[in-house]
Amino acid sequence: MCFNIRSAKILFLLLSQIFFCFSASADPKTLTVGVGRDFYDGTDSRSFLHGSTNTWEGLTYLDKHLNAVPCIAESWQSTDDGRQWTFHIRKGVFFHDNTPVTNADVAASIQRIMSYPRYDPTGNYQAVISVTAQGKEEVVFRLKAPAPYFPKLTAYYSSPIIKPSCIASDGRITQLIATGPYKVIRIAPGDRIELEAFKEYWGEKPLYSKVIFRSITDAQSRIMALMAGEIDAVADVGAILPEQASEIRRHPDLILKQVQVATTHLLIFNSRILPFSELEYRAWFAGALNRSELVSVFALCAGIEARDPYTPLCRDFAFGLIRPESKPFPGNFSEKEVIILLNQATLQRWHYLEIAQVIQEMLRGYGIAAKIETTEAGAYQETLKNGNFHIAIQPYTLMTGDPDFFYAYWIASDAPRNCGWKDAETDMLIRNARYEMNLSRRKELYRQLAEKISHFLPLVPLYHDVSLYACRKTAKEFEMDVMFRPHLTEEKP
């Protein structure tokens, strides 16, 4: 009997070694990154692959203070009236097929982005009249109106430079030949993207000989894959949930890192209908809501209480003026029930449901019933438009790094997400700030706008997002920047 058990044990171990033994790649120059979504964007997209893959680059990029910094464009200048911008293309930049990048290639890529609505969703180029290659290394943009922040509008996703021969007549990208530090080896949609270092890359050399991005949609599975050593890092927006942080910190082989990103979580009042069409109710609510407590309880280490309506990373235009004071309850609350609207798609990443429940309890304390309505993304957008809600919570990323992007989207009377609060003076300030070429005068205009927001409170910023990411100690040099992009070269973010 004893022999049988021992034999069975040995047999079992042998079988397990033969059939099941699993270990991650031991190649130190290969980095495997787990991300929560598919980085393959498709042929009919701006850039074929997500920017985080480091396979393509734009004309400019945004630094940690969301200022435009050189990328494919080495430098730029504008005419005094801000209606013409000339970008000087860097010398020695090569496509992945080792052909040099010319200013005509750059102009062709920008023209592609401008020509199709899908590739310029935010309308960054709507003021552009023409883009042309000039001389040997210049690309010239002519604009309808002054754009003091134009280099920011051309950053990153707004201007992926793709080899023109890879662009079909209908704007689709047939294959990705671009300029990034890594080039594509294999794409398995929904599963993985395999890349290898591009030796002719113009910038700092790639850190790894091979990089694999694996799509692991489930947050728990991602962490387990990291713990098991199947992947070396977990990155991207919302890749690690705040409640997973302590588990990672305790693990001896893992390092938890964080970076403040350009996302701010906003509480939006529906100012079209009572009660929040009245300033006194908005002011009371904003003062009654303990935002610092919300951040410390729900965002854990992944948030900073917001004093600006957009990210303070944009430090030239961050004034820290939103500090609502507590005010007495105005009474005469006419609405039977307050509807708190949430987007289902955001609940997995952020604790909006818990925040909404706190708000529900807070309102109950004042004798006001509140209902939380969770809808899928399409219905959420529809409800925001038709106004069947009182309060909504959603993230907002200042993609261009310029405050005009925020004001033109949320605050201006004709803004696509204006929720009912309209003010002619504010509209004028927004217009003036948008076209003001003098930086100090522009700052002053945005300070005045921030004062308006802090006084009228059409929305309340809850907290600025701090994105968590993690890596194994063997990949401790792994970093992510403010645009969620992993840095895979020797250059530090």
Partner: protein, 318 residues
């Protein structure tokens, strides 16, 4: 005359079945199209805001036009149907890639997962059902019943994570997520198969117990045949027959993809493709995946009909 009618029926059987299949697919496609139409939200806006972009109203309108979403519903449906008849399911709104290609790419994963899960479920449910029925109300039966209740009650998501924790994280036997080769399918098959085999096992047990009380079985025992002989000669086939339609349904269901298991184990199958399409309001992809699932379901049920036809003489006569 009777022979002539039988021959004619045989000759026209494939044609009749094809027409039936076509009508079903048409009905499903029309229903899906209508349902998508009444879901709130704008597909163009969702595509443009896929990167958390603050999209402009002009761009949304322009994309709606480009995708043909501004045309009336009947025109859009007829355009889609015209292409679908020639097996062109259109391009994905999200990626711009042909829907049929994306579905074909996801099929190997789904077929592998479905095949092995089906095999696992059939073997385990048959074995469990037999043991449980033959030892009715004794310890093996009680254990099996308890096991089936537990297996059916445990959610797939939780079970998947627990199996992952034990076999991937602690023992390092199988990969946590994704991976290549058969090893990548071991945990997904177990996760999906355990609950399925438990419920099927209970039905199989009930089927055997019903047959145990039949006169011909009692007669066989009275002739002095052993339990095993009686089971193999008289009971097994009779007990399996009612299971065939259930297995057909199970296979059809599995071929439609398993959203939760595919998501937990990062398997790029049909279920995940369909779920992503729904989340992204990718209409052509939703249509394509729903049609594929329907097709598999109908085909498996027809295959089961054929098996019935072969196994049961009475069925053949009717």
């Amino acid at each position: 005359m009777e022979n002539y009618l039988k021959k004619q029926a045989k000759r026209y059987f494939p044609l009749k079945e094809s027409i039936r299949l076509g009508i079903t697919l048409f009905g499903v496609s029309l229903l899906t199209f209508l349902m998508l139409e009444f879901v709130p939200g704008d597909a163009a806006e969702m595509i443009l805001s896929s990167h958390n972009d603050a999209v402009s109203a002009e761009k949304i309108a322009a994309l709606r036009k480009e995708l043909g979403l501004d045309s009336p519903l009947p025109i859009r449906y007829l355009n889609w149907l015209r292409r679908a008849v020639s097996l062109d399911l259109g391009n994905s709104f999200r990626t711009g890639d042909p829907v049929s290609r994306e579905i074909l790419n996801s099929l190997p994963t789904t077929l592998t997962l479905a095949f092995f899960t089906f095999l696992f479920a059939v073997v385990v449910s048959v074995a469990g059902g037999i043991v449980s029925a033959m030892f009715q109300n004794r310890l093996p039966d009680k254990c099996h019943r308890l096991w089936t209740i537990i297996a059916v009650s445990v959610p797939d998501y939780w079970l998947g994570l627990i199996l992952m924790l034990i076999f991937s994280l602690k023992l390092h036997w199988v990969p946590v997520a994704g991976g290549t080769g058969f090893r990548a399918f071991i945990l997904p098959v177990l996760t999906l198969g355990l609950s399925v085999s438990a419920s099927e096992g209970r039905v199989f047990r009930a089927s055997i117990l019903e047959i145990l009380s039949q006169d011909y079985v009692l007669f066989a025992y009275s002739k002095g045949l052993t339990r095993i002989k009686v089971f193999i000669r008289y009971m097994f086939k009779a007990a399996v027959i009612p299971m065939i339609s259930m297995w057909g349904m199970l296979l059809g269901h599995l071929l439609g993809g398993a959203v939760i298991v595919e998501s937990v184990f990062s398997l790029p199958g049909l279920g995940k493709l369909a779920a992503d399409a729904v989340l992204n309001r990718d209409m052509p992809m939703i249509q394509g995946t729903v049609l594929t699932m329907t097709f598999f379901f109908i085909i498996t049920s027809r295959i089961m009909d054929v098996i019935y036809f072969m196994l049961i003489p009475q069925y053949r006569k009717t």
